[in-house]
Symmetry: C2
Subunit: 240 residues, 2 copies
DNA sequence: ACTCTTTGCGAACACTGTATCCAGTACCGT
DNA sequence: ACGGTACTGGATACAGTGTTCGCAAAGAGT
């Protein structure tokens, strides 16, 4: 066999025989996360991460069978930032919203998470713990297990949308910002032609709302609006 | 200036002077879409698309300034497949669901659409037409324009999730399927350890539902379940 | 007919992920 | 104690990738 089968998580981190590894998955993942936080997911190349920890590029493949594996490691590393200690309060919607706030915080710390395709990442142990915790918040709710799962997936998806539509603190990559601006420019020229009546009013409405939330405590208003939207979606999915 | 500024859509397709272009954006986009349909988005490289239309790799850059531009072209090309002729019926929820069915159909024909990051693609003219049409379906509904926009974005996002969680007809790439299987394997070993009670019941429930929809007319049931979920989400967002 | 702009393209650059091979090392079973 | 074994880190190489540059040819406008 060429590669030891299965995901990163099934392979033992340390081999039975042979010299002690010089690095570790955790250290590699941390380095990769740091690079992604600072320069975006595209900057996370095997060579870059290897250089960051002082290793040769090919050495990483002793810890990881592919770049996808590395990204699995990164994703699970962020899942470790959840606080899963707070038990269910009995108000499942509030609990879910609170969980949403955690997700949002983590997404803001690691904006590259929004670039991941959720179902291409193999969930690691910490991610599965988060999933278990999320479901535990809904344990007392009388709903089919499938609906609960859907609601949790939805929670993540909606928050991803929130984060994406939020102007990045330090604007992602310069090229990305340029593309965004180009898109806005084209939209303006199309709207100026006068067709697209409904789109025009929607765009101006959204622009007004965006300008309103430019202030600092206006960010709270935006957050409140997001909470309201989340409540609607979740209670639409799970509510009676 | 190095590059003519702005998105693909603002630049004129044909230059005023000089020889007539040998190819066209439409033809390039069509070739790229064909490649993506058959072999996935990763197979869409400049060299590949160029070869497909019988051009040299560097020639594509006369029509497109980057691969991102090419993908903009591809995305907008799929938007042309919408039927925007059917006017609003007065039942906005039904109209939205019908629109959802169109989205779903297009996503099934072009599974790579699920790999796109929606807000990194600059919407082209056809996509803006679809947006205008979508909003027109909600014209008579008394709701803030922003909420309507959110609902439409949500509609697309939910359907993307549907499509992703659907076993691909001809399974995407072989490597992708292998990773999926690896993930399932790891999940099984974790669940076997006995912790993750809630996750265990959820997973078995989803597996049972998945097995049930293996049959042919059982696919209709799944579709019905999706419609129900969509209705809940949308009426949760826009309903009174 | 002449000029200019634009086209198509060969070649090259700076990357990327990854496989292969090799020397050295530390454990295991004897 | 000591092979043999299984591992480690790494140098090198390969097949791709997106993209740029410079240049010959060719069509449109004057």
């Amino acid at each position: 066999m060429k590669h030891p089968a299965g995901s990163v998580w099934q392979r033992p981190e340390r081999a039975a025989r042979g010299p002690a590894p010089e690095y570790s998955r955790a250290r590699i993942a941390a380095a990769a996360v740091a690079v992604a936080d600072a320069e975006g997911l595209a900057a996370v190349s095997m060579r870059r991460v290897a250089a960051e920890i002082g290793a040769a590029p090919a050495s990483l493949y002793r810890y990881v069978t592919s770049r996808d594996d590395l990204i699995d490691l990164m994703a699970d590393a962020t899942s470790a930032e959840f606080d899963l200690s707070r038990p269910a309060t009995g108000e499942w919607l509030d609990d879910l919203i609170r969980l949403g706030h955690q997700i949002r915080g983590i997404h803001e710390r690691h904006r590259w998470l929004a670039d991941l395709t959720p179902d291409k990442v193999i969930p690691g142990p910490r991610t599965l713990d988060v999933l278990e915790y999320s479901l535990s918040l809904l344990a007392d709710l009388d709903a089919p297990a499938q609906a609960k799962m859907e609601a949790i997936v939805m929670l993540g998806a909606v928050i991803t949308i929130f984060v994406r539509n939020q102007p990045a603190g330090t604007d992602s990559t310069q090229a990305d910002a340029q593309r965004r601006a180009a898109g806005a420019g084209y939209l303006a020229t199309v709207l100026a032609k006068g067709e697209h009546r409904h789109l025009a009013v929607a765009v101006t409405a959204m622009a007004a709302a965006g300008a309103a939330s430019a202030g600092q405590d206006e960010a709270q208003k935006r957050s409140a609006a997001e909470d309201r939207l989340l409540r609607r979606v979740l209670s639409g999915l799970l509510g009676q």
